[in-house]
Amino acid sequence: MIDSPDTLHALIERYFAAETTLAEEHFLRDKLAGLPDGIDPVADEAKAVLGFVAVTSQRTTAGRKFRKLKRFIRPLQAAASVALIVGGAAMFVKYSIQKAEAAPATAFVAYVDGQPITDADLVRRMALDNMRLVAEATSAFELQNSTIINCAAEKNQEINSLIFPL
């Protein structure tokens, strides 16, 4: 069918002018595939274009397939992300609760003139000393209040006895 370069070039020209049939395009592709590179520049150019078209076509098909697949993958990705975040948050909360239950204390420190004391027994003794002071002051305060109340009651009795002598 094509037995000279001119005939091949004419077919290539018709291909570039979009005048070829599908059968002629297939024929041209097969023909060009059988030709070695670097002999006929026109054929090389056509091979490059036809090769690009073929590769693009394959890529486009693969892309379409991938996009179709992506439609299914995307919700799965979102669901996995949500599951990961919710799971992570649940584990964090559970861990925090367990840690809070297990930990003997989250803070046990004293500072004297800015110098830290981390000996737990010493810190506890210092706190208990303060609470003893509170106990003494509270007792004294309540005693003082009751004394004032008693004095007021005695005074009231005195006044009553003066106003209403027996």
Binding site: A78, V93, P104, V109, R124, N130
Partner: protein, 154 residues
């Protein structure tokens, strides 16, 4: 959309986390800051957790400050006076505008959380002033009873 979801979850987890400074919202909170408690002449104690030995789980936070510097004493007096106005229970005595003894309770009906401020501030020169902040689920009557009987709280 996904970012919004992540942000919502972060907010949810943050809300569930316990607050870092329980005395927040009170004027005395600033006194328990490192800027104040690291100063010379200040003794600060901080015990916090679910099991502070003798204090058991009824008291979860104990903080105290003992100071002798008149400026520090005044700062404590001012903060306690301001917080004392919001107290739900109050017992105090004062001398010439200076609180010598103060016991203030702050109840929170929502979660049974009780907060207490106790101030011991004798009026004499160079006498130490002690401010105590206590937080827990112990009610005011039981707390005072334990203190007066000098019993370990359990």
């Amino acid at each position: 959309m996904r970012l919004r979801l992540i942000l919502s979850l972060i907010l949810l987890v943050s809300a569930a986390a316990p607050s870092l400074y329980a005395q927040d919202g009170m004027k005395i909170a600033k006194l328990f800051s490192p800027e104040f408690q690291d100063q010379k002449g200040v003794t600060a104690i901080h015990m916090e957790g679910n099991n502070i030995n003798e204090w058991g789980d009824l008291v979860s936070v104990y903080r105290s400050l003992t100071v002798t510097n008149p400026e520090h004493i005044q700062a404590i007096q001012d903060a306690v006076k301001a917080d004392g106005r919001n107290a739900t229970t109050r017992t105090s005595s004062s001398h010439e505008g200076h609180i010598t003894y103060g016991w203030y309770g702050f109840s929170n009906g929502k979660n049974n959380l009780e907060r207490y401020i106790i101030l011991l501030s004798p009026p004499g020169k160079d006498l130490p002033t002690t401010l105590i902040y206590i937080e827990g689920t112990i009610n005011p009557t039981a707390f005072k009873h334990y203190i007066l009987q000098n019993l370990p709280i359990q």
